[in-house]
Amino acid sequence: MRLNDEQQMLQDSVARLMADKGPVSRLRELRDSRDEKGYDQPLWQAMVEAGLTGILVPEEHGGIAFGLVGAGLVAQEIGRNLSVTPFLSTAVLGATALSTGATAEQQSQWLPAIAEGTALVALAVDEGAKHRPDNLSTRYEGGKISGDKLLVLDGHVADLLLVAATDGQDIALYLVDPKASGVTIERTIMADSRNAARIHFDNVDAEPMADGAAALRAALRAGRAVLAAELAGLSREVFERTLGYLKERKQFGRLIGTFQALQHRAAQLMIDVTMTEALALQALDACDNNADNADAQVFAAKGKAARTALLAGQEGVQMHGGIGMTDEFDIGFFLKRARAGGETLGDANFCADRFATLGGY
C-alpha cells in the first residue's frame, strides 16, 4: 500500500516532532536522572496538543480516529528516535480496548481523558516469562480480581488498569482503579529503560466491560501491529546509522564499507528492513479495513519485525565494533529496545505459532 496525502502529512509532522522533542538523548536523560514518572512529559504534552493521544479515540469522544495506519506512523517515528511515551499503553492498547468493548458510561469517562492527556491507562495481561494470553490464572469472581501480573507497561503511573482475567469461562478485560485497596504495584525498570510494573491484585474491586473479551482481542491485535511499526522504524534507524558508519570508519587504510563481507550483510539488512516496513504497513491497513487475513498479517508483521529489529540491533553493535559496546554511544539503546519490544505482546516464536495455526498446520 501507499500512504495517502493525509497520512503522508501526518508522517512528516510526527517525524519532525519526535526528532525535535523526543530524540534518543531524552531517553538517556530520563534514564540517568532516574525520572520518577519514567516517561517524557514535555513530549507527551506536545503529543496531546497535536491530537496524537487521541489518534484511535472516536471523534464523538474527542479523538481524531485516524486509524491504525496513523498510529503505526507515529510508532515508526517513536521507534526511530526511541522516544519515551505512554503512546502504546494508553493511546493504542487503552484506547482500542475501551472503544471496542467498554460500556457507554466507561467510554465517556475514559476516552475523552485519553484524548485530552489527563489519563494514562495500562494493560495487565502477562503473568509469567512468556506472553500466553489464552492461559491466565488471574481470577474474576463476584466483582473482585485476584492474581499477579508483570510487564504492565506504564503500570506505576497509570490512572486506570485494564486487567485480563478469567471468570472460569472467558478471558476478558476488567477495569481496576490502581489506587483501590488490595493493589500492590512494583515498578520494574526494564533493560530498555522503559516503564513496566509487577502488580499484585488481592481481592480488588473490578468493573466488567460490555464485552471485555472482544476488548482484549482488539487491544492485543492493535498493539502487535503498532509494535511491528515501531520495530520497523527502529530497524530503519539502526540500519541508517550503521550504513553511515561503514562510510566513515577507516581501518587498514580504507573505509570499512569497501569490505565485501560487510557490504553484503548491510545489503541483506536493508532488504529485511524494507520488507518489514512494507509488511507492517500492510498489516495495519488490513486491520483498518477488517481484511479476512488481518490476524495472520499482524502475527506475520510482529514476528518479522521482532526478528528484523533484533538482527539490526546485533549487526548495528557488531559493525560499530568497540564503540558500539560503550554506553556512551547510542546504538546499544536500540538493541535493548529491540529485545524488549520484540518480547512485548508475543515474541517471534509466539507469532509464528499463531500464524501457523491460522494457516491450518
Binding site: 500500500m1 561503514l246 545489503a267 509488511l279 500492510q282 518479522k304
Partner: protein, 394 residues
C-alpha cells in the same frame, strides 16, 4: 460506453468466437506451451489455429507496433486483453525468447530495417529465438566474454562457445553477444548480433543438470558467417543492449514458486506427509520453519506490491529489481528445502510413477539454479551495496 469498455466488449466477443475450446483447458505441462518456429510440431489443430488467429490480430505481441506485426495496443488495452483471456482460461497463443527478450531489444535499439525483417516473423510464430550470452569463462563476469566476430570485409566470421543457451537445439535464430573489438576495454568491444542457427559452423549439445534433463545447451561456433547488417544498435555498443535485457530478465525471475508448489500452501502439504498432533504439524521444528518462511514470503509480497505501486507512480524500480531477484530466488530455494523436509522418503523416489519420475527431487534440485541464473545472489548483493546503499568500491 467509453472507448475502453467498447474495446473490452469487442475483445470478449472476438475471443469467444475465435479461441478454440481446447485452448481454454488448463495447461497440463510444458508440452502444452506453444513455442512456434520452423521446427515446431503443433500439438493439435487447435493449437495452430489459435496461434494463427491471434497473430492475424497482432495479439501475439499486443503492445508492439502494428507495422511490425504487433497489436499496437495501449497498456490499458493490453491489460484488458490479458484479463479477458484469463477470464476464459485462454492459453498463451505462442511465446519464446523472441517475444520476451529480442523484441524489446529491437524495439529499443534496432534499426527500422532490422525491426521489419525480424519482428513480423516473431509475431507470426514462424521464427523461434534463443539467447547466446554466457560462456564457460564468462558467467557472472559476462563482459569478459571471448566469442569473437572478425571483420572479413563484407561479413563477420564468428568463432567461440556459448553455454546455457536455452533451447538452442530447437531455436531458429540466435541473438548473441560477440567481441568485435579485442583491443577495447571489456565493456566497449562487444556487439549484439543476430544470425540463423542453420548457418554452417553452428552446433549444439544439450546439458544434463543435477535435476536431470534441461532445455540448456552448449553452442559452438566454428567459422560462422554473419552478415554485417545483423548488428543491433551500434557496433561495439552491444553491452548497452545486454544490460537493458538483463534488467528485463531479472524482473521475470523470483517471487511465486513454479512447478508442483505453484499455488500450494506448504503447511497443509507438510501435514499430509508428516501428520498432525492436536491439529498442529507433528514435527514442531518443521512447523516453525514453515511459518517463518511463509512470514518472510508475506513480507516479500508486501515489498513487491509496494515496488509495483511506486513503479506505476513513475518512481521507477531501478536497482530494487536486484533486491527482488535476490530475495525471491532465495525464498524459492528455502521453500523447496522445506518441501523436501516434509516429504521425506516419499520425495526422494527418483524413478517411480508415484513421483512422476522424481518430480519432487528434480524440482528441488532445479531450484538451486534460481540464485545463479540471471545474476547470482552474490552479484545482486553487490549491486544493492553499490547502487542502493552507495557503498564504495574497494
Amino acid at each position: 460506453m467509453s472507448d475502453l469498455e467498447q474495446f473490452r466488449a469487442e475483445t470478449r466477443e472476438w475471443l469467444q468466437a475465435n479461441c478454440p475450446e481446447e485452448m481454454r483447458q488448463p495447461v497440463r505441462g510444458p508440452e502444452d506451451h506453444c513455442w512456434g518456429g520452423r521446427k515446431w510440431q503443433f500439438q493439435s489443430d487447435a493449437q495452430r489455429v489459435w496461434m494463427e488467429r491471434m497473430a492475424e490480430k497482432g495479439w501475439t505481441a499486443p503492445q508492439w507496433p502494428q507495422e511490425y506485426g504487433g497489436g499496437g495496443l495501449t497498456p490499458e488495452q493490453a491489460a484488458i486483453l490479458d484479463e479477458e483471456m484469463k477470464r476464459i482460461n485462454a492459453r498463451s497463443p505462442v511465446s519464446n525468447f523472441g517475444f520476451w527478450m529480442l523484441g524489446p531489444a529491437l524495439l529499443k535499439f534496432g534499426s527500422d530495417e532490422l525491426k521489419r525483417k525480424h519482428l513480423p516473423p516473431i509475431c507470426r510464430g514462424e521464427i523461434r529465438w534463443c539467447q547466446g550470452y554466457s560462456e564457460p569463462n564468462a558467467g557472472s563476469d559476462l563482459a569478459s566474454l571471448q566469442t569473437r566476430a572478425e571483420d572479413q570485409g563484407d561479413h563477420f566470421l564468428v568463432n567461440g562457445q556459448k553455454i546455457w543457451t536455452s533451447y538452442a537445439d530447437k531455436a531458429d535464430w540466435i541473438f548473441c553477444l560477440v567481441r568485435t573489438d579485442p583491443n577495447a576495454t571489456k565493456h566497449n568491444g562487444i556487439s549484439f548480433v543476430l544470425f540463423d542457427m542453420e548457418t554452417p559452423g553452428v552446433t549444439t549439445r544439450p546439458i544434463e543438470l543435477i535435476s536431470g534433463e534441461s532445455p540448456f545447451c552448449e553452442t559452438f561456433f566454428d567459422d560462422v558467417k554473419v552478415e554485417k547488417d545483423a548488428v543491433v544498435g551500434e557496433l561495439n555498443r552491444g553491452w548497452d543492449v545486454a544490460k537493458y535485457l538483463l534488467t528485463h530478465e531479472r524482473n521475470n525471475i523470483g517471487g511465486e514458486p513454479p512447478g508442483y508448489l505453484k499455488g500450494r500452501a506448504l503447511g497443509p502439504l507438510a501435514a499430509e506427509h508428516v501428520g498432525t498432533e492436536n491439529g498442529k504439524l507433528a514435527d514442531s521444528a518443521l512447523r516453525a520453519d514453515i511459518a517463518r518462511l511463509e512470514t518472510d514470503h508475506m513480507a516479500f509480497r508486501a515489498l513487491v506490491a509496494k515496488v509495483r505501486a511506486e513503479a506505476e507512480a513513475g518512481e521507477g524500480v531501478g536497482a530494487l529489481s536486484a533486491v527482488l531477484k535476490y530475495y525471491g530466488t532465495e525464498l524459492n530455494k528455502r521453500r523447496y528445502e522445506l518441501m523436501m523436509d516434509a516429504m521425506g522418503a516419499e520425495g526422494l523416489e527418483w524413478e517411480s510413477e508415484r513421483t512422476q519420475g522424481g518430480m519432487f527431487a528434480s524440482e528441488w534440485l532445479r531450484s538451486k539454479g534460481n540464485s545463479i541464473e540471471g545474476g547470482t545472489s552474490e552479484v545482486m548483493l553487490g549491486i544493492v551495496s553499490k547502487r542502493v546503499l552507495g557503498l564504495p568500491d574497494a
